[in-house]
Structures are given as structure tokens and as C-alpha cells.
Subunit: 209 residues, 2 copies
DNA sequence: GCAAAAGTGTTGTCATTACACCCATGA
DNA sequence: TCATGGGTGTAATGACAACACTTTTGC
């Protein structure tokens, strides 16, 4: 008896994965959690999850991010979709990769963040996802991205460090200040830095349009 | 009797769609074909197809592009994945969107190309896919992209037109020539334009690295 | 000789780079 | 008073913008 071949195309689960970046101590850090189940048990992995019926990838991701960080209204952006048929040994799951950017002062617990230049072996293709996310971040660095990585108000030198970390090079302090102040993107906040054992900095904030 | 809920996640087919651009007559054109079956019968749609088992999206796309244009080794690039659960009325199909760029002299039949500023109603969410592809193209315009859109050798003024169409503005001829010649990206070809009823142009080509 | 597109230089403005010292605070 | 990071100006260079006429070919 011959079974009619209705459909020789593949069906798959659809996953999202978030590469959540923060900048702290002049380094880029990414959120990872430990897998409790096989496959890749005890290895670190990116947060993510499968799309439920009626969900877009963006809705699934917003739901997941809120669960993970407790922050509402995360900033995130698609950067690539990973479709290698063997990327999950259990079954075919394609993953839509997002970057999510977060100011470190919004993170209540930093222990799940890992420096991107000292990552151990990761589950699945998550190393590849992170590598591509970093490439995307460096290539698309702009004030909208940097805004997300900064606290509400900040010294100019902290802003400079964020640019330096992402661009991977030192910037001239005087030139940086000149440029950023002339850009019209930021303004002086009404408060000043306190409790530092050096000259307190003026604090600035991004002008929300 | 209660049915055990094994999996409340969605499975879906995975499609790729290609937004194939050419530039001709100082306009941007996109490849579309007419749907022969419902849904959206007789409307125009983007080329694409479903992933087969063991195929990555990139492999599926390369296969499809070769079928459509006859060209091997197409240049293409992912730009966005579309996951609206209602984007296909038959079942859940998510689509990975690619741009593909092609020199118009490689196209044997131009009848399936449509000017992007005069598109009729399209099938599915394909209008949205094209809009996003155009945005991506404009935002990421670089010499690698432009190279794909040019014939092997070309007059500088044709190159200028390609930049003008993508950027959506006129460029100064002298400044354009100065800049592009100083960039080190192109070199004079050994041949010269023929059979034109005006002064024949020197032809140039991109230096393949 | 006319139509059509190819090709060519100079000047002003603005953005970017390079570079080194004094300032305000807490301990 | 010392340690720590905050904060400042000027000059040289390079990139980009504005601008109009001559050249070469086919018909």
C-alpha cells in the first residue's frame, strides 16, 4: 500500500534566542544560563524559547526577556536566523536570533553575565549566535544602541567607555566630548555625581525624542 | 478524559523569500511572478519556497534562485524573518527574507521585473517584505552591494546612477568621479564603450580581491 | 554643425585628528 | 598633599560640497 506523499517539506519548531548584552568594567558581557537537561546538560546556553501558537517571534521574545531580567519593554532587534538542520540534536528547530541591550544598573543580579572574551564551551550553536550578534553590534553601533546600554544619567567618560568597548579601540577624550556635545543627542542632567573620591562629574542624559 | 498536553508549541513550515533587485532605466526593479493557485490567485508574489529536510535556508534559496534566473552563485543576504501567525491563511509558515542583487545584463527576460514605485497589490505579506528589503538595501548600501548590480565593466556614469537610485538623490558628477577613483575599488578596463552616438566612455570594473 | 553624454579643477567649509595640562574632590 | 578621574583649546589635515565648461563621438 502506498502512502500518498502529501508534503515532503520539513516542519520545525521555531525558537527565539536572545543575546543580552551589558557593558560593565570596560567589558562586554552576555547573559547565559546553565542547561539542566540533556542535550548539553550543564553547559551554558543563551536564553530563549519556542513560539507558541499566535505568537510572533517578537512577542515570544518580549515574554521571555521579562521573565529573565524582570525588565519590561526591553529593547531588542533581530539580527539573523539560524537554520542548520542539525543545530538541535533532538529535532529540527530553527532559531531567530535577537540582540537585547540593557543598562547594567537595571540588572539586579550580575552573576549570570559572562565576559564575551572568556566564554567556555556553549550548548548548541550558541557560540556562533553570539559571535554573529557581536559582529552585528559592532557594525551597527549608533546612538540608539548606546542609549540602551547607559543608565538614565551618566558621566561623559562612561559614555566614552561604552563606545570604546563596542568599537574595540581607545578614543581621544577631548575629541569625544566635543563630538558628542555638538551632536545634540544628549543634555546635562540636573544632578551631579556624588560620593566619588575624585572631582565629581557632570551627569548627562540622552534627549528622548 | 483528559488528554495529556505534550507540547503546546507550534510547528511550522519554514519558507524563504527572495527580493531580487536589478537597476535599469534609473529605477529599482523587483522580480515577481503570478500566483496560479489560491490563496491570492492571480496576484503577484515574491519567489520562494519551503525548506526541505537537511536544507539550510541558504541552500534552499540558492536552489530557488538558480531555477528562477538561471544564474549560478547568486549574491544574497538575509535581512529579516517574518513570523506573523496569520501571514499565510492556509497554515503557519514563517518566512526568512533575503535580498538578492543582480546585474541587469545577466537577466535574460526582464518581463517579470516590476518597478518598485508602481507595485500592484501583492500576495501574502510580500509588500511588507519588499518594503523592508528596500529599507535594508538603502541602509546598507556599500560597494559590495553595488558591485553585484553592475555588469562586468561599465562607464563611471552608470555606476553613479546606481548609487543615485539606491540613495534616492542626485550626486555631483565631478565629486562622484573623484571619490570613486580615489577609493581604490575600481580600475579601468582594457576595453572602451562602442556603438554609442556620443563620446564613448572609458569602462571600469571592480577590483576583485 | 548638432545632439548627446563624457570628462575635468578649484575653492570654501566642516569634521576629524593629534596633542598636554590644570581642576575638584575624598581620603 | 596625594591619588583619582574630570575637564578643557588650538592648529593641521583630510573629506565633502558647490560650481560650468570643453571634449569626443555618431549622425
Amino acid at each position: 500500500m502506498e502512502k500518498k506523499k502529501i508534503n515532503h517539506y520539513e516542519t520545525a519548531n521555531i525558537a527565539v534566542n536572545a543575546v543580552i548584552f551589558i557593558i560593565k568594567d570596560q567589558k562586554l558581557w552576555v547573559y547565559l544560563s546553565t542547561r539542566e537537561k540533556a542535550p548539553f546538560q550543564n553547559l551554558l546556553e543563551l536564553p530563549g524559547g519556542l513560539l507558541q501558537p499566535k505568537e510572533t517571534a517578537e512577542i515570544t521574545l518580549a515574554r521571555k526577556l521579562k521573565d529573565i531580567t524582570g525588565v519590561k519593554n526591553h529593547f531588542f532587534q533581530q539580527f539573523h536566523t539560524f537554520t542548520n538542520p542539525n543545530r538541535d540534536p533532538r529535532s529540527r528547530i530553527i532559531s531567530i536570533g535577537f540582540i537585547a541591550l540593557l543598562a547594567y544598573d537595571k540588572v539586579s543580579n550580575l552573576k549570570d553575565f559572562h565576559q564575551i572574551d572568556a566564554l567556555p564551551k556553549l550548548a548548541f550553536d550558541h557560540k556562533e549566535i553570539i559571535d554573529r550578534a557581536i559582529k552585528y553590534l559592532k557594525l551597527n553601533i549608533d546612538s540608539q544602541f548606546v542609549d540602551q546600554l547607559m543608565p538614565n544619567s551618566f558621566p561623559l567618560n562612561d559614555l566614552q567607555i561604552v563606545y570604546e568597548v563596542i568599537e574595540g579601540k581607545k578614543l581621544d577624550n577631548r575629541n569625544f566630548r566635543k563630538k558628542i556635545l555638538n551632536s545634540g543627542l544628549i543634555q546635562k542632567a540636573k544632578i551631579v555625581q556624588k560620593n566619588v573620591n575624585h572631582r565629581p562629574a557632570s551627569l548627562y542624559q540622552f534627549i528622548k525624542s
